[in-house]
């Protein structure tokens, strides 16, 4: 019988610890498919963050490094500078990339480090139990914004793609979503491009993926997908925010 659908080679055959309906799993698969398609698993070093995906080192088949909270772009810089022939990617949540690691993120972008950053925006701190994140939208209830995020008290969300597009060093920034088949296909294309850019020496490429956290949002998986469409995409519009890949070729 011909197999028409299989686990990508770059995704290890192990159970993951992600909650049912969490889109971390979908995004892992997309990355692994790209590593397979570009045939780069054997030359890739992944850097996982502190957050729900902290154990991604057990899930991806390539060599993996677990970084301190927020420091993945600096760790990736060290790997890439030490071995420029390796493909280096980071996989980071919003607390990791947009709060504690903002400095490392912005400066890796400004230096146009030739790395690929996959940024999982689920508008909350998943691993620690659903606290307010830098991307929590106004009015959103979390454990530490129990009355809804009040911008007068707790300020405004950070829109990473918009912000990084304004940094000269950034080569490619796109926001995609994991809520539906068409969006997932779009996300796959963006991730592939972010890796191809690195292979072509184009430089810092970041893909933000709007992702769900049904557990901490207190929603069923399908309601969580619906929330992305109803609440998040209007606040965080999808699209390419910057792309210099044509100019520099």
């Amino acid at each position: 019988m011909e197999a028409v659908f299989d686990r990508p080679h770059a995704l290890c055959d192990v159970p993951t610890h992600y909650c049912p309906g969490c889109t971390h799993g979908i995004i892992h698969r997309l990355i692994a498919e790209v590593l397979d398609e570009l045939d780069i698993e054997g030359d890739t070093v992944g850097v996982c963050p502190v957050g729900c995906s902290v154990m991604a080192y057990d899930y991806f088949g390539c060599d993996m490094i677990e970084a301190p909270h927020g420091r993945a772009p600096a760790v990736a810089t060290g790997v890439k500078r030490a071995s420029p022939d390796k493909v280096v990617f980071t996989y980071q949540g919003d607390g990791d990339l947009a709060a504690i690691g903002t400095c490392e993120t912005v400066h890796a972008a400004a230096r146009r480090e030739n790395i690929t950053v996959i940024f999982i925006n689920n508008t909350t701190y998943g691993m620690t139990g659903g606290q307010m994140a830098p991307t929590t939208i106004p009015g959103q209830i979390t454990q530490t914004s129990p009355y809804g995020r009040d911008t007068a008290m707790q300020g405004y969300p950070i829109k990473i793609c918009e912000m990084l597009a304004a940094v000269d060093g950034t080569a490619f920034v796109q926001r995609v979503s994991a809520d539906s088949v068409p969006h997932i296909l779009e996300a796959k294309k963006a991730i592939r491009k972010a890796f191809e850019n690195q292979l072509n020496g184009i430089g810092f490429s970041l893909v933000e993926v709007l992702s769900t956290c049904p557990t901490n949002w207190g929603m069923t998986p399908s309601a969580a997908m619906e929330r992305i469409r109803k609440e998040l995409i209007p606040y965080y519009p999808l699209g390419i925010y910057k792309d210099i890949s044509n100019q520099s070729k």
């Binding site: 698993e41 054997g42 030359d43 890739t44 070093v45 850097v47 902290v54 154990m55 080192y57 057990d58 991806f60 088949g61 390539c62 060599d63 993996m64 490094i65 677990e66 970084a67 301190p68 420091r71 600096a74 760790v75 990736a76 810089t77 060290g78 790997v79 890439k80 500078r81 030490a82 071995s83 390796k86 493909v87 400095c103 490392e104 912005v106 400066h107």
Partner: protein, 361 residues
């Protein structure tokens, strides 16, 4: 072997490059400045990487990445910057990653000052970051020793897969002395654990410090502490000077040992049997050697450029068998040999008058 007149900081950087350091990551701070500047100038010409990071936090994590990729990597800073690096140092230790970290100490706490100090002894030896771990800590006392210890630091970092610190200070970093660089050829060890891409020839390598099962975490810490036992028996270094008949043993490390040595010489000229014990590694601490140096002593004087830090270790090791007193200056002030001589003389008078005594060991 050629002799060159070099500043401590520059000699350290040159030694690191010769010892095979491939990547240097740093953030500007006085008084370690010349180290970064030397790398900035020389790494591009010598096939190495120099990168000025956005912070000490980023710099130490770049070291983590480069070390995980299997190359010799280092960072340098001065006291306030080392505080920022401590998170990364803990992760490096916990991930069994070799690297070299240089602290050219300045006065603290807080922003402190930019003059020489030794007030980061506790930080280097006891609390370089959170969790159960140690660094090998070298305390050079001359420019030549800075060079020699830099070679040793890279070698032992790789041998024991652990971060190594060179605890220098503003005085040693800035002083110029003649040095020579050993022309031994550097053999870089194979690192089969490194993240170099598996090429489908092996299973994936993972560099990690997370263990959610207490038993697994305990085992990883225990394994590391077994390695520290080897470090203790193979890496401990010290120097004793005129200790065999010494009545008063002065203990000092790094720059303050230079000053203490002159004071010991002056005391001898005045007929006081003084000696100097100098640990060259602060971790592992030369415990047996210290006890041996104090075999004929009536009292110990510990001098440091801080408010008294190593003195706690001296007292612990001597287990109250001898009176151990402390003399120090801090804030960037350097004690003079006369200051220390005065302390030795006072101590001598009290010993002779019977006011200072302890059982011998």
């Amino acid at each position: 072997m050629e002799r060159l007149l070099m500043k401590g900081n520059e000699a350290l950087a040159e030694a690191a490059i010769r010892a095979g350091c491939k990547c240097f990551f740093g953030y500007p701070i006085t008084p370690q400045t010349e180290i970064s500047a030397y790398f900035a100038k020389n790494m591009p010409k010598r096939n190495g990487v120099f990168l000025q990071a956005e912070s000490e936090i980023a710099a130490v994590n770049m070291v983590l990445g480069a070390s995980a990729a299997g190359v010799r990597a280092m960072t340098s800073s001065s006291s306030p910057g080392i505080s920022l690096k401590s998170e990364g140092i803990s992760y490096l230790a916990a991930s069994d990653l070799p690297c070299v970290i240089v602290n050219v100490q300045r006065g603290g706490p807080g922003l402190g000052g930019i003059q020489p100090s030794q007030s980061d002894y506790f930080q280097a030896v006891k609390a370089a970051g959170h969790g159960d771990f140690h660094l090998i800590v070298y305390a050079p006392a001359s420019v030549q020793e800075t060079v020699d210890m830099t070679y040793l630091a890279f070698e032992n970092a790789d041998r024991y897969r652990m971060p190594v610190m060179i605890l220098s200070d503003g005085l040693l970093g800035q002083m110029m002395e003649p040095v020579s660089f050993p022309d031994t050829e550097i053999k870089l060890p194979e690192k089969e654990w490194a993240c170099t891409g598996h090429k489908h020839r092996r299973t994936h390598n993972i560099i990690n410090s997370l263990y959610l099962q207490p038993d697994m975490l305990e085992k990883s810490v225990n394994d590391r502490f077994m390695r520290y036992e080897r470090v203790k028996s193979e890496c401990t270094l010290s120097e004793e000077y005129l200790c065999s008949d010494a009545d008063i043993v002065v203990t000092a490390f790094g720059a303050s040992a230079r000053i203490a040595r002159s004071a010991v010489d002056s005391a001898r000229k005045k007929g006081i049997r003084a000696g100097l014990f100098r640990p060259k590694t602060l971790y592992p601490f030369p415990e047996t050697e210290l006890k041996a140096s104090c075999r004929n002593a009536s009292a110990v004087l510990c001098t440091e450029m801080n408010m008294g830090q190593m003195v706690y270790d001296i007292r612990l090791i001597l287990e109250n068998t001898l009176p151990v007193e402390f003399y120090g200056r801090t804030g960037g002030n350097i004690p003079s040999p006369e200051d220390i001589l005065t302390q030795i003389e006072k101590m001598n008078r009290r010993i002779k008058g019977g006011a200072l005594s302890g059982s011998s060991i």
